[in-house]
Amino acid sequence: MYSSYRFIKTWDDLAEKLNEAYKEYYEMNGDLRKKMPEIMGDTQVIPEKIKKLYEFSRDGIETDWLATIYPRNKPGEVLEKRKGTPTEKNFLLLSMLRDAGIEAKPMLISTRRNGTLIENWPQLGQFDRVIVYAEYGSQKYFMDAADRYCPFCVLPQNDIVSKGLVIDESRGKIVDIPPPGNNNMTEIQGVMKLDSDGNLEGKFIMHLKGYRDIAMREKLNTTDMEKYISELLTDQFSDAKLDTFEIAHLDSLNLPLAITLNFSVPEFAQIVNDNIYFSLPFLNSQHKNPFRRAKRFFPVDFNYIFRNSENIELSIPKEFEIAELPAQKTLNIKSANYVLQLASGEKGLSIRRNFNLDKTIFYPSEYGFLRSFYGEMVSADQGQVVLRRIPDAAGN
């Protein structure tokens, strides 16, 4: 007597098994077929069709954030319930894409929370999410309909990984996922005025793109909007009062989010005798070094590369002049740079701050540089401006 067991040895073995399990979840029912023309409209352009089907799966179905790579409900049932796990929503998208004649396949990934995929270890347990891989012509599409704030072809932050396993019928293929674009940025323009009592008032206009935009959009939609925006301000200016605010494109995922804040900060500056002292009035500065440990054994992993820029135009009271400015600062380490520039003009001060990060992983051997880079940046951001009363203006 003996039993014969066949173990999974290759990605193809795994794909064969999964393909069997997934087969019934590609099935379209009548209701779903009926829904397709309504979703796609009269477009005949394939990329446009893909986009519309993705947007319906993303917005038309409530997400049940259950982490499993197996759907429990078929696409028709998901449509009926208008609710599905990320995997179910993605199988709905898959089945619709396939029905529309588009080559689409499930792609298993190990999300950032789950860890890095080990390519030479064909194990199902490595994966925790199924996304959609589609091809049209030379164009490849990677889609996850789970997150309602992710525009077309932008994967949720937790899905930013480099590889996944595409289940192509009975073949399993490891496919590279291109890194997200370099458009993750926060651009801030500030125009403000300091008066001779040390009060500051002005306006910030903040433009966000990429993952910065997605994160902010989610916050604004799921928290008390006014409170959150007010906290953005008070995190930097503890006494600030948000006078009014406007948000543009909150409901249009394809347009960059723009937030305008009108604010005032009473007694922003410290006044002693004929001097006024104040710190640089940034909305997005670094207060503390996030890297507290002197040593590190594992890499630092920023999810994505980004660019932050902030330009401030500050008017100072006419009876004062600039006595001292913080030093200009340029910091450069491999793949990260920071620039602080200050220029005094007729009416006041122009301040420019740029912080760019061009790679996401910093290994322990680079940690010391990164920590010290942040330390220097914190120090530069805390720079103090000194104004002194112009003797004539004081009547002397």
């Binding site: 609710k83 799921t222 503890s238 002292y277 503390k288 070094n289 720079g383 103090q384 000194v386």
Partner: protein, 630 residues
């Protein structure tokens, strides 16, 4: 039969709010959702049988409003859920979705510190992807006791168009009510022995929320109920007086104060050399802290009835009432009278003393010694005998003594008992680095919470916990070379002391000619400590009164003069004080900062004075000292 028809009819009338009515004039409101209808019906057949029906209709306007579709129904030995239904409608009243059986998740996860209980939960998360929409749900729960008589909280965090509480009595049942903000009388409908009482409120504004408001003010409108007579697992009780209610609680613990023979020997040995009862209680309390740990297993009436002292002896664990029973049993064994005291902890609000009822969530021990009374928090590992943590302080409690139930008040420590005092000496370099040595002492509640913070932190590295959790509040990335504690794991009646030394590399900001720094190293008030409201309806609530005094001596880098510094400030008010002073002698700056808040609550009538006090403190605390290169 006519009665039944009437009830059904009235239900229909009350719920007949059309979707069109809901949509009209409401969707533009600045709110996440609007509760269009909130109905609670409690139908009492007799004191051992009642049915609760909940019916809610909510217009969901924003993503956050979808939370209204998340609700749960609790089931246990006394309550069984008989039905749940829900549907989603569009604003024209067209049904979009109906709740299916498999949309209801069943779970028996125990909450908080309870390791196991026999509660089961039916959880529903019911939403629709496109906003706005109308959510409507109903559920029914059957009770075999009226002990869990539901209360009415008609006000919510969003506007409520209509809230109804309907009480139906099949036979006369005596009950008591307690209310706040609800002055209405119910509509009463009588039919023979049967009676229906209906309370209705319409167009309710959302609950008023203020920063750091007292827990007892979180709800501003409520109607509480308690049955005059109730029964739970065969234990009959009465709510007509605290004595009667206490008598019920006392009966639950009858015969549960026996120690095992081994424990009797241990207790004898522990107390053999003690000269006073106070000393004996101290020994026994310390033994309790080391011998047992807090674990809550709550089954059926076990939510109210303690496990026996013998079982605590054997298992070495228990919840608050079990550990208190064990402590009381040990005290009684050495002939010291001791009693359990039922507590509504401070974070849950205050006890309504004129409303005898089940308002409690905790139990502590009360030991009335001839010279002084001792209160014992039996679940705390880092507390001296007789000391209480902030949540137990100043509470009206029900002591279950020979009189059955007696309301007493626990003591509360004043600001001068909850102190933090520090002396730090440092050297400042011209590139802004500060090397420092110092000592900080914590007493009272400050010592209690600091000990708990240090000893329960999963990181285990005391130096790191102290550095990041205390020193780093205003210092950027302090690096500690030394950090030694006294009285951390024992001697809880003595101050907790920490001696430390270290470096902050970027303490001061230096420019070409100047150095900017703030010598308030450990304590500052910032704008985030100031309540947002210009005027207050409710008091500002502090966790406990406190006082701090920090002395900082900084050796300044040579070649610099003091160019600017905040003026020394002294403020004194009925609710607190603040004082700063500084002097420079032989190039050493000595800076002293003192602050005290005397009361747990700052009353609304003092709020204007408090606000200007705090503003002055905040302004002073954020001001820099500026050194100028000579």
């Amino acid at each position: 039969m006519r009665f039944l028809i009437f009830i059904l009819f009235s239900f229909i009338v009350l719920t007949d709010i059309s979707a069109a009515d809901i949509a009209a004039g409401t969707s533009s409101e600045n709110t996440d959702a609007i509760v269009v209808l909130d109905e609670l019906e409690f139908h009492i057949k007799n004191i051992n049988s009642a049915v609760l029906n909940i019916h809610r209709k909510v217009q969901v306007l924003r993503e956050k409003g979808k939370e209204f579709g998340r609700f749960s129904v609790t089931e246990n030995r006394y309550a069984k859920c008989k039905k749940i239904s829900a549907r989603i409608l569009d604003l024209d009243g067209k049904e979009l979705k109906e709740l299916k059986k498999d949309d209801i998740l069943k779970a028996n996860i125990s909450p908080g510190n309870t390791i196991y209980d026999d509660n089961k939960y039916r959880l529903v998360e019911f939403a629709w992807p496109q906003l706005p929409y109308i959510l409507e749900y109903e559920y029914e729960v059957e009770f075999n006791t009226v002990f869990m008589w539901p209360d009415w909280f008609p006000q919510e965090d969003v506007p409520v168009r209509k809230s109804v509480y309907r009480l139906m009595l099949d036979e006369p049942v005596n009950y008591y009510t307690y209310h706040r903000g609800i002055e209405i009388s119910p509509d009463v409908i009588k039919k023979g022995k049967k009676q229906t009482l209906i309370w209705t409120l319409e167009n309710l504004e959302p609950r008023l929320k203020e920063d750091w408001m007292p827990p007892e003010d979180r709800h501003q409108k409520y109607l509480l109920f308690t049955p005059a007579e109730f029964q739970l697992d065969g234990y009959k009780g009465y709510s007509d007086s605290w004595a009667h209610f206490g008598e019920w609680d006392r009966r639950l613990a009858n015969g549960r104060y026996q120690l095992t023979p081994e424990l009797q020997n241990t207790v004898r040995k522990l107390t053999a050399d003690c000269r006073t009862d106070r000393e004996k209680i101290g020994k026994l309390y310390s033994f309790l802290q080391n011998y047992t740990r807090y674990v809550s297993i709550s089954l059926g009436i076990g939510g109210w009835q303690p496990n026996s002292a013998e079982s605590v002896c054997t298992n070495k664990y228990g919840d608050c009432k079990d550990l208190t029973t064990f402590m009381v049993a040990m005290a009684n064994f050495v002939d010291i009278p001791a009693y359990p005291a039922l507590v509504k902890t401070r974070d849950k609000g205050v006890l309504f003393r004129d409303f005898p009822s089940n308002q409690f969530n905790h139990v502590i021990a009360f030991v009335p010694l001839p010279d002084d009374t001792m209160w014992l928090e039996c679940t705390a590992d880092y507390l001296a005998a007789g000391d209480l943590p902030p949540d137990d302080e100043g509470c009206f409690v029900l002591v279950i003594n020979e009189k059955n139930g007696e309301i007493m008040r626990t003591p509360a420590k004043s600001a001068d008992k909850n102190t933090v005092s520090s002396i730090i000496t440092g050297d400042l370099t011209n590139d802004g680095e500060l090397q420092f040595t110092g000592q900080v002492k914590f007493t009272g509640n400050n010592a209690f919470s600091r000990r708990a913070g240090l000893l329960t932190d999963e990181r285990k590295d005391l130096r790191q916990i102290f550095s990041t959790g205390f020193l780093a509040k205003y210092l950027s990335s302090p690096s500690l070379q030394r950090c030694d504690f006294e009285n951390l794991r024992d001697n809880f009646d003595l101050p907790l002391i920490c001696d430390f030394s270290g470096t902050v590399r970027k303490y001061a900001v230096s420019s070409a000619r100047r150095i900017f720094f703030n010598p308030a190293l450990l304590h500052r008030e910032t704008a985030s400590d100031l309540p947002g409201e210009e005027e207050r309806e409710f008091a500002v609530n502090y966790y406990f009164p406190y006082s701090t005094i920090d002395t900082v001596r900084i050796n300044l880098p040579s070649g610099y003069d003091l160019e600017a510094a905040p003026e020394p400030l002294e403020l004194s008010a009925p609710f607190g004080k603040y004082r700063t002073s500084y002097e420079i002698r032989e190039n050493q700056l000595t800076f002293v900062r003192e602050e005290a808040i005397y009361n747990k609550k700052i009353q609304p009538e003092d709020y204007a004075a408090y606000r200007s006090f705090m503003k002055a403190v905040i302004k002073n605390d954020k001001a820099n000292f500026v050194l100028n290169w000579m």
